[in-house]
């Protein structure tokens, strides 16, 4: 279980994350908030890409705040996808497995499996620069899931896609997270996405986590007027 305890992160004078606490058990938690509210920074703190100024991050009770990013065994799917342009689709998906030292036969099998999950079988040898936005998104997702991380984080994974592809991928992602039974954090600014994918939603505003609960809980008992307006109740 992931536990974020009273994390604060500043950039110069600006406070990106302000005393935020959050727990994620075997479930999908959405962090929902307007752009610039600190969602991505919080995600980067959990991933180990940013060090918090205050507060700690724990996994199953162990303090991992000082653990370097590459030893955390968390998966992070970047908003920009961050696919390696010098590697093929298959080599991108294989990267995490190679870092684990998985042997090449096993690696190939798991790459095929991961591409199969996202409906990209047969794309193994394709170059990244020939892919459409939706295809890149799927490869990025496969790359994140292939090594079997103990926590999956998705940063606005559907942000740059058009409506039609979004709807289809959204249900695919939800299904995949269920099937792999991996705890997940899903960052978004879109109510519909948060509502349809997440078990619980953490509402974030100006660096603070304002309220955490299921969609129904948020709607029936909004914490304040801002939550009410933001959710459009």
């Amino acid at each position: 279980m992931l536990s974020v305890r009273r994390v604060t992160k500043r950039f110069g004078a600006a406070v990106a994350v302000d005393d935020a606490s959050l727990e994620v058990a075997d479930e999908t938690v959405a962090i929902l908030g307007p752009s610039g509210c600190g969602k991505s920074t919080l995600l980067r703190v959990v991933a180990g890409l940013e060090r918090p100024d205050r507060g700690t991050v724990h996994w199953d009770g162990d303090d991992i705040t000082e653990t370097p990013v590459h030893l955390r065994d968390f998966g992070l799917m970047f908003q920009s996808f961050a696919l390696f342009p010098h590697r093929t689709v298959g080599q991108n998906v294989a990267f995490g497995l190679e870092m684990q030292g998985v042997d090449s036969e096993e690696c190939r099998r798991r790459v095929d499996e991961a591409l199969d999950w996202v409906g990209m079988e047969g794309f193994t040898d394709r170059r990244i620069d020939g892919l459409s936005g939706g295809e890149k998104q799927r490869v990025a997702l496969a790359r994140t899931l292939a090594p079997g991380p103990r926590l999956v984080m998705l940063d606005e994974p559907l942000g740059s896609l058009d409506r039609l592809i979004r709807d289809r991928l959204m249900s695919d992602i939800g299904q995949l997270l269920d099937e792999t039974a991996t705890p997940a954090i899903y960052v978004t600014h879109d109510h519909d996405e948060a509502r349809s994918i997440a078990d619980r939603i953490a509402l974030m505003r100006s660096g603070r986590i304002v309220q955490v609960g299921t969609w129904e809980q948020l709607c029936t008992r909004p914490a304040d007027e801002w939550v009410e307006r933001f959710l459009g109740i």
Binding site: H70, L71, G75, F78, M99
Partner: protein, 518 residues
Amino acid sequence: MSTRAGRVALAIVPVGFIGYLFVYPVARILMMSVGEGFGDVLTSASTRSVVWFTLWQAAVSTLLTFVVAMPLTAVLSHFSFPGRSLIRAMVTVPFVLPTVVVGSAFVALGLSNSIWGILAAHVFFNVAVVVRTVGGVWSRLDRGVVEAARSLGASPLTAFVRTTLPILGPSIAAALSIVFLFTFTSFGVVLILGGLTYRTIEVQIYQEATTFLDLGAAGALAILQLVGVVGILWAYGRYQRTRSVGLELAAEARVLRPARSDTERAILWSVVFGTLGLLAAPLVVLVGRSFRGGLAGWEFLVDPGRLAITPGEAITNSLFFAVVGALIATVVGMAAASLISRGSTVVASSFDTVLMLPLGTSAVTIGFGFLVALDEPVDLRGSVLLVPLAHALVAVPFVVRATLPTLRAIRADLREAAAVLGASPRQVFRHVDLAIVARAAMVGAGFAAAVSLGEFGATSFIVRPNSVTIPTLIFRLLGRPGAVTFTGAMALSVILMLLTTALILSIDRLRAGELGEF
């Protein structure tokens, strides 16, 4: 290398290299020439006529290059057809051919001692600049822009003049200034084809220094030319800053379409074959001329009789210099490129310009500077490294151009993605930074080797009997009497052409899909 110390270490290599081999020699030239009647040289009648010739032949060459290149550029930017990328690659070949080979080819065509030979050779060289620079934007220009103009009531011509042309403006200006710069500082072609009649400033510098042994006059002309080059680069930079707009370029596959009607197909293929024919003719004649009198020219290469330097030695020298020069240029160029890609924009862009200077300044000035300045504090003039260092200096901008876009493309998120997937900092460097740059570095090294193989202007100043290269030997052979020697020069030109072409084609394979500005 994010630390300050790391960046300083990174800076020492290119700054020291350019400083000692270029800035310092130019300063010495300036000091030397100012004392000796600087003004007299610049105002003399012969200087005036040389400057006038340099300017007008550059302007006419640039104009003619456009006239020849634009139809092909237009066709390549509209139609998809089998062999399109091959044709783009073939058009590039003349641009990378050594000037001496092109000079020989036009001599073989019987155009020596003629202004037409000079102009034709300049067009031959620079068609690729227009096709690649303008075509690179035009072939990826979203047709929606033109269609929007049409739907707002513009005729096809009006739509072209009011939308396409202004959008292409910056790239056309870029191509114009590059071609003008190249022809303004043209050396090998004019030296070989101009005879005693036609001289650019570049050729005049060479002749003042080597024939008349008037180093003061040569220096004054070198400074004059440097001022001209800086002026052209400045005007170009200013234009680009004020006029360039952020372009949303589409994928070529979405812009290009097959030729639909018979008329379109007729236009397409006549332009393609017409231009290719024009470009191929000199080379075909060159190869043919090397076989005149059977294999006599080729036998001459193997057994040159009483020639002081054999062609075999020249080939060995050239290959050795190409390897060493490419190595030096790659190390210096990559250090410079990573500095530029990480530095602040002001530092980066000014450093970028300083680096481009050797490319534009004229190879002759570089060779002249080596001759004048590299005796102290370190005497390099007797060193075996002198020629490769000069070649590296000319080649560094090519390495920077070839690697900079790739270095800029390594975004922070790629490193982060690798780290999240379990890569340690060392693995991140190996699998992301090194892996991405490796191919670009090889492309840069290949370009540097090609530049070295063909380099003539600087080499002709600093070459010694034991360091004669293929281009300098060809030039010597062209100047000797005798039919067999002449045919031998043609044969040696063919060898140089084949070496360079093989190198460039292997680079092109590496580059497939790679980022790069050339």
